[in-house]
């Protein structure tokens, strides 16, 4: 496998997630009867279901953004040494929503917030550029997101998730709007990241 240049991402023991009897009424079939599964580290898990099945609801529950009606979500792992949610969970929203102009590099640097707290260091900028390069869009770094196409914005947002370097990547339809070449590229990146021990959870339509 080629080097994706995600040099800042080190192999480490990562957290997985175990879900028990997760239930949310009115959020689709997936969560209607109680959803249980284990998401293990160093693997890519695909949640494939038709539209409206509740994939996004499940992912936003896992990300800690919504609280489920009932059930438990346990983020756990052998070597995890942090209780910082941002170090454990990174989330790609289902849509890329940028109502005001912001530059590509600033979006990706926002993913590094837990490292720089508002004043990015050189290492943060290098990491951000690495993420863009791994997705084949390094040349966009100085542009404003309003000038990008749907697929380019999708990859910028994905680069932001990579930059966070969390244990678990919760990706809500990362392939939407991408052409075949870009899809393969994202696929390669996800394999690379899972090989480094991360738990990758991908929701996509069936």
């Amino acid at each position: 496998m080629t080097d994706f240049g995600l040099a800042f991402m080190r192999r480490r023991p990562c957290a997985g997630i175990s879900v028990r009897q997760l239930r949310m009424t009115g959020r689709g079939d997936l969560l209607a009867t109680g959803f249980s599964t284990d998401f293990h580290p160093a693997k890519i898990h695909y949640i494939e279901a038709p539209n409206g099945a509740g994939k996004s609801s499940l992912l936003s529950c896992l990300a800690g953004l919504d609280s489920p009606g009932s059930g438990t979500i346990d983020v756990q792992g052998a070597g995890i040494a942090t209780d910082d949610p941002a170090a454990l969970l990174a989330w790609l929203p289902p849509h890329d929503d940028f109502p005001l102009p912001v530059s590509v590099i600033d979006v990706v640097l926002a993913g590094r917030w837990r490292f720089h707290r508002g004043s990015p260091a050189a290492s943060d900028i290098t990491a951000a550029i690495d993420c863009l390069r791994s997705l084949g869009i390094a040349e966009l770094s100085a542009l404003s997101v309003d000038s990008l196409s749907t697929g380019q914005r999708r990859r910028v947002n994905l680069a932001r998730v990579f930059a966070q370097d969390a244990d678990v990547l919760l990706l809500d339809e990362p392939f939407s709007g991408l052409d075949e070449v870009a899809k393969r590229r994202v696929d390669d990146c996800l394999n690379w990241i899972a090989d480094l021990g991360r738990t990758v959870i991908v929701a996509r339509p069936r």
Binding site: A86, A90, P99, P101, S103, A110, A142, R160
Partner: protein, 328 residues
């Protein structure tokens, strides 16, 4: 090795600051006598200097408050006047004055009213458009303000005082008003500066901001406090100056060249201060010279300039949405 990033556009910001300084000087030197630049020491120090300084400060603060509001609510059409924050602040001041309070309680009233309005909008924003919430708030506050004013009409002195507030007139204001506004202004600006980087991250949306590790609840409170302080300071200094907070950040953002990175919140706030200050200083110059010897209200002039600008913003946003659909 750190990769080279293109620079942010600092030159434009410096030019705007210089232009604001030039406008300040022009306003000091200009009067009704017909000569463009007249120099009369007494008139300048006792009359134009305090008044133009008030215009500079009120306009600048509203510009900054507008920039923060737009970033906080992620809405390019938001501003203290459109969200009803100015209306809430001025209604509270009106109520205090009608109730017989001394004018030096006005800043506290303005701050209380502005904060209440912002909290309402914040709750409203979870369910619906902030612009609609602001519309409702402005209309309601305006009606209640008129009611209070009609109650106070029997007392010409007091109703005059209230009208001056409501219409955003800088006539007859002086260093005292500036002194009352200054503590809130400084507090608001310091908070703005500290919250800048967090607000840049909040531009990605509160849910994304939460997952990258930002304390969104706390930052929202901090930003609300800053906007309330800045707006209250501006109202205390200059009364209602509608659309200033909309026009300034819009122009500030639009002035970034094509090959430069979009500017960040702090940078935008500096530009918005300069642009808001210029708008209000020029409006005030028009207000005191256009129909001389009669004075017009400064807020009326900013409203007349800002109204069409607001419409143009909506029009442009719709055009952009349409062209975006084709682009995709």
């Amino acid at each position: 090795m750190t990769p080279e990033l293109p620079r942010r556009d600092a030159a434009t910001t410096w030019i705007l600051a210089l232009l604001a300084g030039a406008t300040f000087t022009l306003c000091l030197m200009s009067g009704v006598s017909g000569e463009l630049l007249e120099f009369n020491r007494d008139v300048i120090t006792n009359f134009r200097l305090p008044r133009t300084t008030l215009a500079l400060v009120s306009g600048g603060l509203l510009g900054v408050a507008g920039a923060l509001t737009q970033n906080l609510f992620r809405n390019p059409l938001a501003s203290p006047s459109i969200l009803g924050v100015e209306a809430g602040g001025s209604l509270a001041v009106t109520a205090l004055l009608v109730a017989g309070a001394q004018p030096h309680f006005a800043p506290a009233g303005a701050l209380g009213g502005a904060t209440a309005a912002l909290l309402f909008i914040l709750v409203f924003s979870r369910k619906s458009s902030v612009i609609l919430g602001g519309l409702a708030l402005t209309t309601a506050a305006g009606s209640i303000g008129s009611l209070l004013l009609s109650l106070a009409l029997s007392d010409p002195g007091r109703s005059g005082q209230i009208l001056q507030w409501l219409m955003g007139s800088l006539a007859g204001r002086g260093w005292g008003d500036l002194g009352r506004a200054l503590p809130m202004a400084l507090a608001g600006l310091v908070i703005m500066w500290r919250a800048g980087p967090a607000l840049d991250t909040m531009l990605l949306g509160s849910r994304v901001a939460r997952t990258v590790g930002l304390d969104v609840t706390r930052m929202t409170r901090v930003a609300v406090a800053s906007v309330a302080l800045l707006t209250a300071a501006a109202i205390t200094g200059g009364g209602l100056l509608p659309f200033t907070g909309l026009v300034a950040p819009h122009l500030g953002r639009a002035m970034t060249g094509r090959n430069l990175l979009p500017i960040k919140t702090r940078h935008l706030c500096v530009r918005s201060f300069a642009l808001g200050a210029m708008l209000v200083m020029i409006s005030d110059l028009i207000a005191r010279t256009a129909a001389a010897p009669r004075e017009l209200e400064t807020g009326v002039i900013t409203g007349v300039i800002g109204g069409p600008f607001f419409l143009w913003c909506i029009y442009r946003d719709q055009l952009r949405e349409k062209s975006g659909a084709i682009h995709d």
